[in-house]
Amino acid sequence: MDQANLLKSLDDLLELDPGTLTGSEELSALEAWNSLAVIGFMAIANEEFGVVVSPKKIAACTKVSDLVALLQAA
């Protein structure tokens, strides 16, 4: 999955219109970024990349682009 599609998946996860996220957003500024969204992100990582992303690594992310980088490194 390329970066554009990853961002679309995250738009969907956070119930945002497609194309909303660009990567530069601070996660703390996103209202929908909560523990349920973290689990949803982990589910995407597992379904699309076959990996189990550590919640600690997700917690270390500060921007949407950090999440994308985490998946691209998987």
């Binding site: 523990s35 349920l36 589910a43 597992n46 550590s54 919640p55």
Partner: protein, 370 residues
């Protein structure tokens, strides 16, 4: 001799917490969102004076009321709980007395959470097949809601109280109906689902960390554990049985929450119509979820004599287990269905007569009642 499940009943306390009530307390949540994410509409909540032994006794009495066994038939009581009435005595001893079980009946508690039912079946099998007991009553009873802090909407949304009672005895033929089993443990995950205070290590939570007295669940860590361990556990069981996913008639996993179950189901490529979910009316009731789901599956005619079922329990500990069973069933709803089809069934003593066969309940394919 081979052990078999003969009868299952369950009991839910009368108090409830609906998704509507949760949204009144937490207005930024919607009923639709809660039900979409966790698949639960109602959780049952034990009253302040209602403890695990009360729920256990109520569930067990339903077994006796059904005619499946008499209290005097039971020669071993296994009780799984993490919310016992007291540190001591053993809750199973209280339940033995209240049910009027024989004084020659063995009774013990074991402390496991969502994996407890699978472990209980393993213990019961051991007792029966080594000749130590003939009729085992396996009770899983929890009042987790007593551990939950009112402000923790995450766990309040998921957990409910319940007890289930399963009667096990010697099977009606030489078929091995329970097993093989797969067990697993990883205590390194202890901190992710825990009640820190109240035991000997921390008798009472200090005022500055009062939440230590409540149930703490790190949802993402629990999800990571489940994704890491449960698919492998299922595959190990498939290897041991020499069976494929398609050889099973039904899968009953611990009813954790809808999102987690759906993720596991898709990852393991289990067809939706063979993956049984029954939690909407009661929530995640810890070690009682699997027998509650089995009971509902039976009532809906989704189980028949000879049906091959995989049970998978997983959670706090971490602890997990899976077992392959061949359904033996009992004379309740599923048989009522068959009786309406003019099929004669009779019971004799504590070991129940046969439940309907796949053909008798009219199941042609996919486990649905035709």
């Amino acid at each position: 001799m081979n052990a078999a499940i003969h009868h299952i009943e369950y009991y839910l306390p009368t108090g409830t917490l609906t998704s509507e009530a949760l949204t009144v307390e937490f207005p930024d949540w919607s009923v639709a969102k809660i039900e979409e994410k966790v698949g639960i509409k109602t959780r049952h909540v034990a009253a302040d004076s209602e403890c695990s032994s009360d729920l256990a006794v109520a569930a067990a009495r339903k077994v006796f009321d059904s005619g499946a066994a008499k209290p005097s038939d039971i020669d071993f009581l296994l009780l799984c709980t993490q919310s016992p009435d007291y540190f001591l005595p053993t809750t199973a001893c209280l339940v033995q007395d209240r049910l009027g079980l024989s004084k020659q009946c063995g009774a013990l508690d074991f402390n496991l959470g969502c994996s407890g039912y699978v472990y209980g079946l393993g213990l019961a099998k051991g007792l029966i097949e080594t000749g130590q007991a003939s009729n085992v009553l396996l009770v899983t009873a929890e009042t987790y809601t007593k551990f939950i802090h009112k402000s923790d909407r995450g766990v309040r949304t998921i957990f409910g109280d319940a007890a289930a009672a399963t009667l096990l005895g010697v099977g009606i033929d030489d078929t091995a109906r329970l097993g093989p089993f797969v067990y697993g443990t990883d205590g390194s995950g202890a901190d992710n689902l825990i009640v820190r205070a109240g035991g000997m290590r921390l008798r009472q939570a200090p005022p500055e960390s009062i939440l230590d007295a409540s149930l703490h669940m790190d949802g993402p860590e629990i999800f990571a554990f489940t994704m890491s361990q449960i698919p492998g556990c299922v595959r190990t069981l498939l290897t041991r049985t020499g069976m494929a996913i398609g050889d099973y008639d039904l899968f009953v996993f611990h009813q954790a929450n809808r999102h987690m179950l759906e993720h596991l189901r898709k990852g393991l490529r289990i067809p939706e119509d063979k993956f049984y979910i029954a939690m909407e009316h009661c929530g995640n009731t810890v070690s009682a979820t699997i027998p509650i789901a089995l009971k509902h599956a039976q009532m809906e005619g989704r189980l028949w004599v000879g049906a091959r079922v995989m049970l998978v329990g997983f959670g706090v500990g971490y602890s997990w287990g899976a077992v392959s069973i061949i359904w033996s069933g009992s004379l309740d709803k599923a048989v009522e269905v068959s009786q309406s089809m003019q099929i004669s069934t009779q019971s004799s003593g504590p070991v129940m007569g046969a439940a309907p066969t796949r053909e008798q309940v009219g199941i042609i394919d996919g486990g649905s009642l035709q």
